[in-house]
Point group: C2
Chain length 731, copies 2
């Protein structure tokens, strides 16, 4: 009796909304345009043929809908994942061809899910606080809802009313109830999981004509708007489109954002979701693309799998939909061409047409020097991408001074990474995870992700007293963010950014000014002035996670040739083998390494108090071979306040095929810190026989402020927070 009542109510709601189908992925009105384009544009033709080939092999088969058992990488996981894509693609084919075989395939699968889903409880492999039913984590169940929801909408017209009822009640309702009731706090969390959950419930709601589900999806389970999709658009991006979890996760979240927005644009056009918050979804996509390397891989800020690139399915969907709603963009053409496939969608058809008629698609996305703020209001620090050079000769310095980045954040305030010619030169470990590999903890994040990759020592910023920033406590780190002091990116030959961090270590003020310089003779440098200031004595470790082969050092070191021990006991130090160490006093520290065909030299200023240097390699305390064996060069200084002044030079060419090596020595001959205090830092770098002079103010960052000081009996005048001259001249 109760069950009948439920069925009656849900049917009534369906009648009220009087939805036309299809309406989620594409609309009936859009279909003729897509169909007529199918044979016109090669990318669309091929993409259509691909899904048809994939689906057709299942047409006469009985598709397994197994009882959930395995974690990621296992059979049941992969089968269900393949199933929702199969249903979605078959639904598309039904609409394009009108062939009921495709609808029938989907219906049969849905009827199996309608039997299975009501029986499901917590997945046997679930380990997280948000366990799934069909999959080991609820996130994957949300993925299922997104695609199954669209699939259902796509075949809706082929179903009888009783079939609809069985599927809606059996396949969808248990899943929606599970996510919105059992996991309501997870559903309402502002986080990439939440975006997926809202999109899943919302698309299912549109597909089934269930206003309640759509409203919960839009405004949270209590429908008050503090959670839900609109809040996810408001809460996860800065005003300029930086996604707080970083580029690897915007890559993932962009898909539910775009797919649900695409559905809402059809079903609830009055919401104008694509225009929401000054086109925030457009900004998010562009920001995500600017945060990629030359090969399209996302820069590894926070937890990140380094292999992920913009050819992934998520970005195909986002690019095609964005092209449709926001209009043409040349950079999208470059990306879509590399993706080599499009959606069977109005946007996909349109971008395929544009590629077919384009004469010259640039080989690289139009990367540029760009800065993003972090935080909803854009006042929680940010990240700068300083770039020099063009196309395959692009150099990118990433300087990160963001907020924590939620649960996938790393303790890496004031971190830098260097990419050059497409290679990761000063690197970030990324995440410790083998996605989809069952033998590696079911493809989940491995324990070393937390114990090593997140820790400060795994990055290229200062670790104080061998402890991680904020004591390694996420909840504490979440409360703070670094602050940008100033930046100046007008002159492409001299880009400057400065930021500070006062909360990561109690009583320690950290300020890092980085300059990306290209001298008139073409030499490229990163100048890096990093001051740690405190009233008490500390040990400061500044690592450079260099990616390459040791070529030479200016100093003698003791290599641990017969026995290797770990660098420390905890906070990530326990994972580092100590390969070599050195003590240097009062002389220039210089280390040259080779990455692919380019030399890189780190030249570091002398310190009268003495400096300890370490060559380390990750892999200690790694009983399951979960870590890569990555090297680092660590500069250690002890004292109350310490300056780390480094010049990173990009130089020379190693050509093992032609057997030529040129310019393999650094041109830095000396680094003299002429002044370094609360007011000013003045550094003189001898580059062969000419002087590079960097002067910066440390307590006033106004662009119009005039500064006058005397250094070494010479008068120095400049306006604004810094000045860089070479051979006495601005450049």
């Amino acid at each position: 009796m109760k069950r009948l009542f439920v069925i009656f109510v849900s049917m009534a709601i369906a009648l009220v909304t009087k939805a036309q189908h299809p309406v989620t992925f594409f609309t009936r009105a859009e279909l003729p345009g897509i169909k007529s384009a199918l044979n016109k544009y090669p990318l669309l033709t091929d993409s259509y043929a691909d899904i048809k080939r994939e689906v057709d092999q299942w047409l006469d088969k009985d598709v397994d809908v197994p009882f959930p058992k395995d974690p990621a990488g296992g059979y049941t996981h992969d089968r269900h994942k393949a199933n929702y894509m199969l249903m979605f693609n078959s639904g598309i084919l039904y609409n394009i061809t009108g062939n009921t075989k495709y609808a029938l395939l989907v219906k049969k699968m849905f009827l199996k899910y309608a039997v299975l889903n009501p029986t499901l409880k917590k997945h046997p492999q679930a380990t997280s606080s948000s366990p799934g039913h069909i999959f080991w984590q609820a996130l994957n169940d949300a993925n299922w809802l997104v695609y199954s929801g669209m699939a259902y909408d796509l075949i809706y017209n082929s179903l009888s009313a009783p079939e609809r009822t069985v599927i809606e009640q059996g396949a969808f309702k248990p899943e929606v109830d599970f996510l919105t009731k059992d996991l309501s706090s997870w559903f309402n969390l502002i986080h990439n999981h939440g975006v997926w959950a809202c999109a899943g419930v919302g698309i299912a709601g549109i597909a089934t004509g269930n206003k309640d589900w759509v409203d919960m999806a839009l405004y949270g389970t209590d429908k008050k708007g503090k959670s839900g999709f609109i809040a996810q658009m408001d809460g996860l991006f800065s005003p300029d489109g930086y996604y707080t979890e970083g580029p690897y996760y915007v890559r993932y979240a962009i898909l539910p954002y775009y797919l649900f927005a695409n559905s809402l644009d059809h079903a609830r056009p009055e919401l104008k979701v694509f225009q929401h918050r000054d086109n925030i979804l457009q900004k998010a996509l562009l920001a995500g693309l600017q945060q990629t390397n030359l090969d399209g891989t996302f820069f590894p800020l926070n937890d990140a799998m380094k292999e992920k690139d913009f050819t992934s399915n998520e970005l195909v969907s986002a690019i095609d939909i964005a092209w449709n709603v926001y209009g043409k963009n040349e950079g999208f053409l470059t990306v879509a061409k590399k993706q080599d496939r499009v959606l069977i969608h109005k946007g996909g058809a349109s971008i395929a047409a544009a590629i077919a008629s384009a004469k010259n698609i640039p080989p690289y996305f139009p990367y540029k020097t760009i800065e993003y703020t972090d935080g909803v209001k854009g006042d929680e620090g940010g990240v700068s991408f300083l770039r020099n050079g063009k196309d395959k000769n692009t150099t990118t310095l990433i300087y990160k001074y963001t907020s924590h980045g939620l649960s996938h954040g790393h303790f890496d305030k004031l971190n830098i990474n260097l990419f050059d010619k497409g290679n990761e030169v000063i690197s970030d470990y990324g995440s410790v995870r083998f996605i989809g590999v069952e033998q590696k903890y079911g493809g989940r994040y491995l324990p070393e992700n937390k114990t090593y990759a997140e820790q400060t020592i795994a990055h290229n910023t200062i670790t104080v007293d061998e402890t991680t920033q904020f004591g390694g406590k996420e909840e504490l780190s979440e409360k703070f963010h670094s602050d940008k002091l100033f930046s100046d990116i007008k002159n492409p030959n001299a880009l400057a950014v400065a930021a500070k961090e006062d909360n990561a270590y109690k009583g320690v003020h950290l300020q890092r000014n980085v300059y990306m310089l290209q001298l008139p003779d073409g030499r490229k440098f990163i100048a890096d002035i990093f001051n740690a200031t405190s009233n008490e004595t500390h040990q400061y470790d500044l690592p450079f996670q260099y990616n390459g082969t040791v070529i030479s050092t200016s100093f003698k070191y003791d290599a641990n040739t017969k026995k290797q021990e770990v660098l420390g006991k905890k906070n990530g130090y326990q994972f580092l083998w100590k390969e070599a160490e050195a003590g240097v006093k009062d002389s220039l520290i210089q280390f040259t390494f080779l990455n692919k065909n380019t030399y890189y030299s780190i030249s570091s200023a002398a310190d009268t108090a003495g400096v300890s240097l370490f060559f380390t390699r990750s892999g200690a305390n790694d009983p399951n071979f979960n870590l890569r064996r990555d090297p680092a060069f660590i500069i250690r200084k002890s004292g109350a306040s310490k300056a780390f002044v480094n010049m990173i030079e990009i130089h020379g060419n190693f050509d093992p095929v032609a057997e030529f090596s040129s310019n393999s020595y650094s041109s830095v001959k000396a680094i003299n810190i002429l002044r370094n205090d609360e007011q000013y830092s003045v550094v003189e770098v001898l580059i062969n026989d000419k002087k590079l002079l960097i002067a910066q103010c440390n307590n006033n960052f106004e662009a119009i402020q005039k500064h006058q000081l005397t250094v070494n009996d010479k008068r120095l005048e400049f306006t604004g927070p810094y000045q860089v001259t070479y051979d006495g001249k601005l450049f």
Copy 2:
């Protein structure tokens, strides 16, 4: 008076030979054809434009001819290296354009060399037994003679008689005398250096019309023919074209072979050098190309820089000249297209024309399963390249049972290497060298090349008692070679090769049978039955230098997590950190690793006597960071006679972009050695639920021999040295 006499004699010889110029690189008769093609075929047009751009920037400059000072990678080395190419290219431009500026540039440089060369003694950086004058080693002086000789010939017609005398006597004679007199034993050695030396002296002889020099080049300084170019063609190749030093060095030697042969073909056509020894130079080139990976890099047998590929200048010259003299070859088109440049030569013009008109140039060289003998008579062992799959899915197993390979040989008898999908999976260290990098020992072979890379433990073959084959003595190793017992490469699904080695370790007989198998269901395996037989107890170590990430093992191991020590004290063992170790008794040993997107599992038969396993990594005792940090998996057994039966499975797919991982577990469930003795080895491998049966005879390798035996109460019959069945059937 004496000097005048010498001049008189050499002029007289010049008159006698009445040489037409140019005659070395190309002839006057060939010029019109080259000129008329210049603007027709893009590759030729671009290649010409490249050298013109390069040379033109020097036309009005004074080119430095510095007094020799630096080793490889240093200024004077690189300048002289650039100089000979500049002279050669400018000589070509003079002939093409008729512009005397080009001839003048070359003349001015030659006049400087004519002043410099008579003053030179042993190079200050020389360390080898064959020191150079202009360069740190005589080999580079020979390079100089090859290109300078051709350059001189190219501008010969522009010079006055006195200028010719000055250059021939000043620039050439001291160099030729140095190589043929001071270094006569080096000059006469059968070795890649000797090929260069002969080519240099011979080309200089042709260019200057000095018959004496040409004769020494052809037949050795005593002109008796035991040395010299003809002897180098006879002595360094096997009858089927395998170059005894290996593919990395044939890549190098092929250039002087082809350039000198090209000159001789013009100047001494009656010698028919290209037809010598049944077209040995053609066979050598084809064999060199078959010994490359999908990306064109030469397989790293013996000393080898792994970056070297067939786009290097040496191969451009060889391919273009071979195309000219031996005719069309589709594989050459593929290579020439990747080289993306051609010689300004009849052959270069012809191949550029062929590429311009070709409709579909295959993406890969036509690799095939192929075997080469080693030794002048082809009776000193050899090497097999077993291949399965096509194009980018090609799998190559290299099985090496050659002679030592002269001074660049490694102690690696019965070694295997596995390449798959273009990736090096079971690897060879190659050489320890940073070519051209001055900081790394002047670009020379580093000490670790001898102490590690050459040693047996650095390879994938058995090391007995932690000692290197032949006690690590090259002179001893040179006396022996392994022997092929049989091979059968007719059935592409089951390729088989067996070889033995009786001299590497006294009293130990080593026999290795390898099978490359593709089962009817598509699964790919390498079956590897390696028997060590002795009357005395030994320790046998069989390493697999795997290239990848540890995914899982069937056994528990102790990882050395807090402290790492070296595996051994000498013979290469001192360079290996012991990362983990295990003791396994009586169960299947299985180790799965991931390389790029493919899983590889090594399954090894149990041993009732117990097996020790080690995970090692190179880099111990490496105070200058000269070594890569490469991992190995070592199987250790102790006893008199021991069998190592391994199944290497290539399986599955890891796709981190699409987040799918499939088939990540090995299908090998058991390996049972049913019989293993002097007569027969019979191995049964359980692959999921089906049986693979490998039976081999160990003392009779006749293809027609019938065998009958009873194993496990079952009668087994086969003909020839082996039989492989799956599920009871041949496949």
